[in-house]
C-alpha cells in the first residue's frame, strides 16, 4: 500500500514536470545516484559550469524524483582525484559525470570508478584512454576558431591584417588557434601577431595596447575568449583607433551576447563553447537511467555563429558567465 501511494506521488510529480512517459515509471522503484565532478569556479567559464551544473541538478531532481544528483567541485587535479575517491567510497554510484581537470592525471582514478560498473560520462576534456567512458560530451574547439575565421574572411573580403590573442597554453587553446589559422591561411589575410594573454582581461588589455602601438593598421582582432575580448575593447577605445573594424571573441559570455543582441558594429557575432554543456551531459546521463534512451557514444556540440537573430538561445542572464 505504502509503496503504491509513493509510486502514485512519483507519477503525478512526473506528469507535472511533463518530462516523463510511461516507460520511466517502470524504472521508478529503483533509486539512482549520479555524481557530478567539476572544477571549482576559478574563472568565468568554470563559474558558468558550476552554475549550470547546480541548475541542472535542481531540474533533474524535480523531474525524476528517483534520481539523486551530487555535484562536487574541486580546485585542482589532485583535489579532483581525492573527491572522486570520497564520492565512490561514500556512495554507490550509478553514474559519474566528470569534467576532468587534466586528461592524464584523471584517467586512472576514473578507470577505478568505472571498474565498479559505474556509467561514465566525460565532458569537455577527454581522458587519455577513451575506452573507459560510456558517453562523451564536448564542444568543438576547432569549430570555434574555424567558424569565427570563416565569418571574418567573408567580412574582410579575403584580405586584411589581423592580430590574435590566445589563452593559457592548453589543448583547448591550441585547437582554437589551429581551427582559426587553418581557415585564415587559405585567404590573403595576414596574421600580424599571436601572443598569449592567459584568458585574462588585464593581460589582454595590456597586450592589445602593445599591438596597437606596434602596428599602425589592424583590420580586426580575434581574442579566443570573451573575457579577453572585454580587455581588448577597452584598449581600442582608449587609443581611439578607427582602423579596427571587428573585435571578436568566443565562448558566449553573457556581456558579449548582450553586445551581439544589441547589434554592436564591431562585435556582431560570437561563437559558443558553452559551459552549459555540463547540463547537456547530465540530462543525457539521466536519460540513460530514467528513460529507455541509450546514450552511449560521443556527442559533439556544434559551434554555430551567435548572431542577433539566435542570441536569445545562448543568453542566460542569471549565469555568472
Amino acid at each position: 500500500m505504502k509503496l503504491r501511494t509513493k509510486g502514485a506521488a512519483l507519477l503525478s510529480a512526473a506528469v507535472l514536470a511533463g518530462a516523463l512517459s510511461g516507460a520511466a515509471a517502470q524504472a521508478q522503484d529503483k533509486q539512482f545516484t549520479i555524481a557530478v565532478s567539476i572544477p571549482a569556479a576559478t574563472h568565468g567559464w568554470t563559474g558558468g559550469v558550476v552554475y549550470h551544473a547546480q541548475e541542472a541538478e535542481k531540474q533533474l531532481e524535480a523531474a525524476y524524483p528517483n534520481i539523486d544528483v551530487i555535484v562536487s567541485t574541486a580546485s585542482s587535479a589532485t583535489a579532483q582525484v581525492s573527491s572522486l575517491e570520497d564520492l565512490s567510497a561514500t556512495n554507490e554510484l550509478d553514474a559519474l559525470v566528470i569534467l576532468p581537470f587534466t586528461s592524464e592525471e584523471l584517467t586512472g582514478p576514473v578507470e577505478q570508478v568505472a571498474s565498479n560498473g559505474t556509467f561514465i560520462t566525460v565532458v569537455d576534456r577527454g581522458l587519455a584512454d577513451p575506452s573507459i567512458q560510456d558517453l562523451y560530451v564536448a564542444g568543438d574547439n576547432i569549430a570555434v576558431g574555424a567558424n569565427t575565421a570563416q565569418w571574418l574572411v567573408e567580412k574582410l573580403g579575403g584580405e586584411g591584417e589581423i592580430v590574435v590573442l590566445r589563452g593559457i597554453p592548453t589543448v583547448i587553446d591550441d585547437e582554437r588557434i589551429q581551427g582559426f589559422t587553418e581557415v585564415i591561411d587559405q585567404s590573403d589575410i595576414k596574421i600580424l601577431d599571436i601572443q598569449y594573454a592567459n584568458w585574462n582581461q588585464d593581460e589582454a588589455f595590456t597586450l592589445m595596447q602593445d599591438y596597437l602601438g606596434k602596428y599602425p593598421n589592424i583590420d580586426a582582432v580575434w581574442a579566443n575568449d570573451d573575457d579577453m575580448l572585454l580587455g581588448v575593447i577597452e584598449a581600442v577605445d582608449q587609443a581611439e583607433r578607427e582602423d579596427v573594424q571587428y573585435m571578436l571573441g568566443g565562448n558566449g559570455m553573457k556581456q558579449v551576447i548582450e553586445m551581439v543582441k544589441a547589434g554592436d558594429e564591431r562585435t556582431p557575432i560570437s561563437t559558443p563553447y558553452p559551459p552549459s554543456m555540463i547540463a547537456s551531459a547530465m540530462f543525457m546521463t539521466a536519460a540513460q537511467f530514467a528513460g529507455q534512451a541509450p546514450m552511449r557514444g560521443s556527442f559533439k556540440l556544434d559551434a554555430p555563429l551567435i548572431t542577433p537573430q539566435n542570441a536569445d538561445q545562448f543568453y542566460f542572464p542569471d549565469s555568472p558567465f
Binding site: 571549482a40 569556479a41 576559478t42 574563472h43 568565468g44 568554470t46 563559474g47 558558468g48 558550476v50 552554475y51 590566445r166 597554453p169 601577431d193 599571436i194 601572443q195 598569449y196 584568458w199 585574462n200 582581461q201 588585464d202 588589455f205 595590456t206 597586450l207 595596447q209 602593445d210 599591438y211 602601438g213 606596434k214 573575457d227 572585454l230 580587455g231 577597452e234 582608449q238 587609443a239 553573457k254 556581456q255 549565469s319 555568472p320 558567465f321
Partner: protein, 331 residues
C-alpha cells in the same frame, strides 16, 4: 634607539653618489635603449605613456611592499587583497549609486581605503600578536581573499554600474597637463612613502627593525607596532591601486590581480630593497615596476622571440639585471 638611528643615517643622506643605489635606474636605461633599437614605435609618446600608466599598479603596491619587506616581513596576499578590495569597492559604489549619483565614486574610494587598511591590519596583527611567520600568515590570507572575491563574483565577474562608468573612467584614461592621473597618483604615493621612510622617526625604525630586530628592541623600539604599521601601509597602498584599477576595465573577476604579489616583490627587490630587510629604496621600487612593464612591452614589440619563449627571456633579463646590480654595488 640611537644606535639604530645611526646605523641607518647614511641611508637618509643621498648626497654621495652610490652606484648600487643607481643600479635599477641604469638597468631601466639599458632596457629602454634596447627597446628603442628593437622597434622604433617603442619611443612613441603613446607607447611610453601606456607603459608608464600600466606600471602604476605594481609601483603603488610596491611602495607599501617596500615597507613590509624593509621590516623583514613579506606579504603574499597583496594580489588577492587587491581583488577583494576592488570587489568590495564595486559593490559599495553600486549600492550607493542610486542615492548619491556620481558621489558614490569618492564614497566607494573611502570604503576601499578603510577596507584595505583593515586587511593590512589583520595581516599585521596575526604576524605580530600571533607570532607566526609572515610567509605563512599571508599565504593563508591570500587564499582567504581570493576565495572571497570568487564567492562575491560567483566565479564570473562583478561590474561597476553603467551610470558610474563614464564618470569614473577618466581616472585611469584621463590626464592632467599630459600626465595620466595614475602616474600622478604613483608619484604622490612614492613621495609620501619616501618622506615617511627617510624623514620620519617611524621610517628609521622600519629599517632598524629590519636590519636587527633584537637590537631595535633593546633600543626601545616597539618592534611589533612598527611591523604591524608596515602591513597597514601595505593595505592602504593596495587600496590606492584598487582605486586606479577599477576605472580601467570596470570589473572584478576571480583572476584580478593574480600573481601580482610576485611581480610586486620582484619590483621591490630589483629596486635594491633587501629581501631579508633593513634596506629600503622607494624610488628603486618604482624603477623596478617600470623595468618589469618595459620588458613585457619590448617582448611584444620585438619579433625575435617566439610566443612560447617570452616568459623565459623575461626571467633571464631579470636575473641579468640583478647580477649587474650585484657587481655594481660590490665595488
Amino acid at each position: 634607539m640611537s644606535s639604530a638611528e645611526i646605523a641607518s643615517l647614511p641611508e637618509s643622506e643621498g648626497f654621495k653618489i652610490r652606484w648600487g643605489d643607481l643600479a635599477p635606474f641604469i638597468a631601466l636605461g639599458v632596457i629602454i635603449l634596447l627597446g628603442t633599437m628593437i622597434n622604433s614605435n617603442f619611443m612613441s609618446a603613446n607607447n611610453l605613456l601606456n607603459v608608464i600608466t600600466r606600471s602604476a599598479f605594481i609601483a603603488i603596491i610596491g611602495v607599501g611592499a617596500t615597507f613590509v619587506i624593509a621590516t623583514g616581513g613579506l606579504d603574499l596576499s597583496i594580489g588577492s587583497m587587491l581583488a577583494f578590495v576592488v570587489g568590495i569597492m564595486i559593490m559599495a559604489m553600486n549600492a550607493l549609486a542610486p542615492a548619491l549619483g556620481p558621489w558614490a565614486i569618492p564614497a566607494g574610494a573611502v570604503v576601499a581605503l578603510v577596507v584595505g587598511s583593515l586587511c593590512g591590519l589583520l595581516n599585521g596583527l596575526i604576524v605580530t600578536v600571533g607570532r607566526i611567520e609572515p610567509f605563512i600568515v599571508t599565504l593563508g590570507t591570500m587564499g582567504i581573499f581570493r576565495a572571497l572575491i570568487t564567492y562575491m563574483t560567483d566565479g564570473g565577474s562583478l561590474s561597476i554600474d553603467r551610470s558610474l562608468r563614464s564618470a569614473y573612467r577618466p581616472l585611469y584614461f584621463g590626464d592632467f597637463l599630459g600626465v595620466p592621473y595614475p602616474v600622478i597618483i604613483t608619484l604622490v604615493i612614492a613621495l609620501l612613502g619616501a618622506f615617511i621612510l627617510y624623514r620620519t622617526k617611524y621610517g628609521r625604525r622600519v629599517t632598524a627593525v629590519g636590519s636587527n630586530s633584537d637590537v631595535a628592541r633593546f633600543s626601545g623600539v616597539h618592534v611589533g607596532g612598527v611591523r604591524t604599521m608596515a602591513f597597514v601601509i601595505q593595505g592602504f597602498c593596495v587600496a590606492v591601486a584598487a582605486i586606479c584599477y577599477v576605472p580601467r576595465l570596470g570589473a572584478a573577476t576571480p583572476t584580478t590581480g593574480q600573481l601580482w604579489e610576485l611581480q610586486v616583490i620582484t619590483a621591490v627587490v630589483i629596486g635594491g630593497t633587501l629581501l631579508r630587510g633593513g634596506k629600503a629604496h622607494i624610488w628603486g621600487t618604482v624603477a623596478g615596476a617600470l623595468i618589469l612593464e618595459v620588458i613585457a612591452n619590448v617582448m611584444v614589440l620585438s619579433d625575435m622571440v617566439s610566443e612560447y619563449l617570452v616568459a623565459a627571456v623575461q626571467g633571464a633579463i631579470i636575473i641579468i639585471a640583478m647580477l649587474a646590480h650585484r657587481f655594481t654595488s660590490s665595488r
